[in-house]
Symmetry: C2
Subunit: 213 residues, 2 copies
Amino acid sequence: MAQTDTETTDLTAERLLKEAEALFAKKGFEGVSVREITTRAKCNLAAVNYHFGNKKNLYLEVFRCRWVPRAKRLQQHFKTGLPPNPSLQDLLETLARAFLAGPISDEDRCCHFQLMSRELGQPTEAFDMVADKVMQPFFAELAQRFDLSLGKDCEKDALLLDLLSVFAMVLYFSFAREAVTRITGHSYDERFKSRLVKQITAFSLRGLQGDPS
Amino acid sequence: MAQTDTETTDLTAERLLKEAEALFAKKGFEGVSVREITTRAKCNLAAVNYHFGNKKNLYLEVFRCRWVPRAKRLQQHFKTGLPPNPSLQDLLETLARAFLAGPISDEDRCCHFQLMSRELGQPTEAFDMVADKVMQPFFAELAQRFDLSLGKDCEKDALLLDLLSVFAMVLYFSFAREAVTRITGHSYDERFKSRLVKQITAFSLRGLQGDPS
DNA sequence: GTCTATAGCAGGATAGAC
DNA sequence: GTCTATCCTGCTATAGAC
């Protein structure tokens, strides 16, 4: 019912955003044509320019309207999935599971991390938004939570590098599926994804605290 | 002196490969035009088609003639950098240092990992070559070396996942420099790169063996 | 808000002179 | 082996009918 003026009930624009996201993730900004996007979205070639002004702005809106909200949802899922007084292992396992096997479709997950890794390697304007709205606040919050569980002997700097290391694994196992499959021989079924969550949890738990016993 | 017939003294082709690699790494295959490559290589537009047939084949030759040899050099540097009876820490530190601060220019290093991460996320024909000629043999060799240092209680499967986890960090800290800089506030000077080597070594050492004491 | 039609340009590739 | 000139396709973006 109540809707802002910028986000009216515009099914065409929604379809465009959806298809554009999938294609940008798969082929990159330059690898996709407006024609391909509009064809897939079953609308007219001119629709991109009408709704978003130009191709580049469509790309930015994909991040604004789809990527950032999904990232927030994943963060939320992590938070609500935590037990009351989470141990370090709880934190790591809930985190890994939220990102690797969280409450979104596998297709969306691939899409999400593909777009992310493209921006990580080749930052554009979208990266600024992601860094400000998603990465910085989330890492700040994570740092706090882990700080509590780790005791007092860790400097801020070291903790951030540790968190980045954990994040590196999450990202790698999400976006380099083909390579992981080649090396390990496993395909990404539910069983293997669960195995990966355990791997990241166990490896990081030891990595973070040194001695688990 | 002795030269194969496919790799004659062709300075233009060399320049093309060099400039093409830098541009493909920076902007991706679709983001670069043949015109841009030939302009940078200070040669004629037709040179790409004359020497390599077409743009796609130039991309493949970049991997064949530059990427794979560089990867082999890095692997070699890792091997010769190891002490006679390497401990687990020796293995990890030498490995991390070879890739993060090894015997190539920083420009080449960025280039190398950018191309790699593009192929990891979006495998093309080049990925097959890299997987067969570089990844598979290197991981097999690493698995052997780490197996010796770790004792008998590790299954092959778990070891591979551990190695992939280490590799995930190496890759992430190499190709996501912008994000790492935003989160940590550090720029990639020699000091910070050394810090990263220590981080990966220490984190992985604990992650791999559980109890460092 | 959606369409067709098209302007205007940049892209990869090639032919043929030198 | 290198050049110029050019073909032709495909692209983004826009104008204007409906």
